[in-house]
């Protein structure tokens, strides 16, 4: 884990508040996530270097709900992990507003405590809160994902979708500025998918500063987003507002279908 690069990046992007010389101050005020020329590659056992991300650049303005789209294996999750600081990029700089929180694709990796309540409260351990505050935050977060009846249930008795919601509640309880969400709707049925998206959307709407980056490959989720980034083969192909990305993908899809049919 290379926090040093992150700190360096954020230090460079946070000049002293009264400095007028930097033109970036205005930019960073409303940019929550900024990745520049991010490269990531792994070395296999045979010594071969396999590039996974090539020159990915993306900028996501603060207070918006963005989606990261792309086919399987194009590097969405890797990019998200780099943004979260779980992986460090081989090249390039990353800046993400703090505090940030990251929700894994598989809830079994995220939920670390034996009961629902304790798990949601786990992320709050770094703050110095009173028990009452913690309790109200936990119940609010669980309310947002519709799990308030499961406070004392042990995690192992929950279904995959319920675990997923507990994981999301853990992220919401921290009241972070940036939410990085990795294919949360994988384990959920259609009702719950919409429910979770709405829960995230609500938490964004309730405070101005929260930004969310949501990895998905379901196009119907795009209608809740403010903008989207489309990736293919480890490269950012396009980024923009949700409608134009949707059109772009539709065109590609129809071209592909034509190619198959011809």
């Amino acid at each position: 884990m290379n926090h040093a690069t992150l700190f360096r990046a954020s230090a460079a992007l946070f000049p002293p508040p009264h400095s007028t010389s930097s033109t970036r101050t205005n930019v960073t005020d409303n940019i929550a996530i900024d990745g520049r020329n991010v490269n990531f590659s792994i070395t296999t056992r045979q010594g071969k270097v396999v590039p996974i991300l090539r020159d990915c650049s993306l900028r996501i303005p603060s207070g918006q709900f963005w989606m990261l789209l792309g086919p399987n294996g194009c590097g969405k999750s890797t990019l998200l992990k780099i943004l979260a600081g779980v992986l460090s990029p081989t090249n390039g700089t990353v800046y993400v507003k703090r505090p940030k929180s990251f929700v894994f694709q598989n809830p079994d990796h995220q939920v670390v405590m034996p009961t629902v309540e304790a798990d949601v409260a786990f992320g709050l351990g770094k703050f110095n809160l009173t028990c009452g505050e913690v309790r109200s935050r936990v119940s609010k977060a669980l309310d947002a994902v519709g799990m308030s009846d499961y406070l004392q249930r042990s995690v192992q008795t929950l279904s995959g979708g319920q675990k997923q919601r507990v994981a999301i509640a853990g992220a919401l309880a921290e009241a972070c500025k940036v939410l990085l969400l990795d294919e949360l709707t994988t384990f959920l049925d259609e009702n719950d998918q919409i429910g979770v998206i709405k829960a995230v959307r609500n938490s964004l709407d309730s405070s101005e500063e929260v930004t969310a980056l949501w990895v998905t490959h379901r196009l119907e989720e795009l209608e809740y987003a403010d903008g989207a980034v489309y990736m293919e083969n480890g490269e950012v192909v396009m980024q923009g507002d949700a409608a134009s990305i949707l059109d772009f993908i539709r065109v590609r899809q129809s071209a592909y279908i034509k190619q198959i049919n011809s």
């Binding site: 779980v86 598989n106 995220q110 034996p114 009961t115 304790a118 409260a121 709050l124 008795t157 921290e174």
Partner: protein, 393 residues
């Protein structure tokens, strides 16, 4: 040996299809002359009689059986019994169908009296129930067993207590019988070196006036003595109380509450440098991790079962190989899981110091009516157990 020797002597090896099919179909009505163009060397000599032919056929078929199996090379196939390969299948099926929570299961509803008792008091109760059966009168021991059974029946849902009590009583029943008859039951094979009193010219020991008898019951060659009763009752009652009180506690207390109680009792140890915060965090993490391990064990077994392996066709070594693969896979997956959980903890703000990372225990720890009642009961039971040793002799 015989088969291999006789095989080359069969008279018509050149066209085996013809010989085997016609002969096996109608060995008695073999008319080679009825063929349109009888090849001369195929023509059997007239002196062949059916019995001799039959003999040869039987040799032939036997030889073919041994041939088709590759001779002696595959003898290993015949060594493992069918039971072994079937049992491997059964083992995996059993594992894959096992319960997800074999150790504990917190029952959150219906909320009962025991749910509202403070976890610290429950821990003291557990300690008392371990110590008391060993240190009190036999009536007290059985009293504790009956008390625990009634408490379980009262507190737990019907199917839970039926299951728990059934298992624990079976275990302690077996222990009681084995120890009761085994502790002092069988007369020693080697005779005592002191000669019996009759040989020494001494009178026999008089029978007890109060009806005391060391021997309680005699079952054929076995005998049930007072020593046996004492050992058996201590072991069986201790087993019963330890298992039943623990499962009763676990079904009515969340893991956090238990961790909270443990931390409370361990807090004084911080003064002598015991890392209490770390121990409690580790306990909580492992309570979650245990269930992941069980899940993993089940899932990998399910994966093997769903491959529909034809166990009968596997040799013993191949079956063992699959078990080895199974265990390797489990360990690999568990380590991957541990790695990912540590990643998740870092992402969620844990920085490796359990003192600065607070763990909040949200359960209500105010002292209520239930706690007072429970404490009074504890004092009463302990007092009765201590007194029973003096008054009931």
């Amino acid at each position: 040996m015989i088969m291999n020797c006789t095989f080359p002597t069969v008279t018509f090896p050149a066209i085996p299809n013809f010989t085997t099919s016609t002969i096996s179909a109608c060995p008695k009505t073999l008319h080679v002359t009825s063929l349109k163009n009888p090849i001369p060397f195929l023509k059997p000599p007239n002196k062949i009689n059916p019995t001799k032919l039959k003999l040869k056929i039987s040799f032939r078929t036997r030889a073919s059986v041994s041939d088709s199996n590759g001779g002696t090379g595959n003898w290993v196939k015949w060594i493992p019994t069918g039971a072994f390969s079937i049992s491997a299948d059964k083992v995996f099926r059993l594992i894959s169908g096992a319960t997800a929570s074999p150790i504990y299961q917190f029952v959150s509803s219906p909320t009962t009296f025991l749910h509202s008792v403070d976890p610290r008091i429950k821990l003291v109760w557990l300690l008392a129930l371990v110590v008391l059966p060993a240190r009190s009168h036999i009536a007290m021991r059985f009293g504790l067993v009956i008390f625990l059974s009634f408490l379980s029946i009262w507190i737990l849902p019907r199917h839970v207590w039926m299951d728990q009590l059934g298992r624990v009583s079976l275990l302690s029943g077996i222990l009681f019988i084995m120890l009761g008859l085994g502790a002092d039951g069988v007369t020693p094979l080697v005779q005592l070196r002191t000669p019996p009193p009759a040989m020494m010219g001494l009178p026999k020991l008089p029978a007890s006036l109060g009806g005391y008898s060391y021997l309680i019951m005699k079952l054929g060659p076995l005998q049930f003595t007072r020593k046996g009763l004492s050992v058996a009752s201590i072991a069986a009652c201790l087993t019963f109380t330890v298992f039943q009180s623990a499962s009763l506690c676990l079904t009515t207390t969340t893991p956090e509450q238990l961790a909270f109680a443990l931390r409370w009792f361990m807090l004084p140890l911080t003064y002598i440098g015991v890392p209490v915060a770390e121990i409690v965090l580790t306990l909580m993490l492992s309570l979650r991790f245990i269930t992941l391990v069980f899940d993993e064990v089940r899932n990998v077994a399910l994966g093997i079962v769903s491959r529909r392996i034809n166990w009968q066709h596997l040799t013993m070594m191949e079956t063992i190989d699959i078990f080895v693969i199974y265990f390797r896979r489990i360990f690999k997956n568990i380590f991957i899981h541990a790695d990912q959980i540590s990643q998740a903890m870092i992402v969620r703000g844990f920085r490796g110091d359990s003192k600065t990372h607070k763990i909040y225990f949200l359960s209500d720890s105010s002292f209520g009516m239930a706690d007072i009642v429970s404490l009074l009961c504890l004092v009463g039971v302990t007092g009765a157990a201590l007194l029973s040793d003096y008054f009931l002799v």
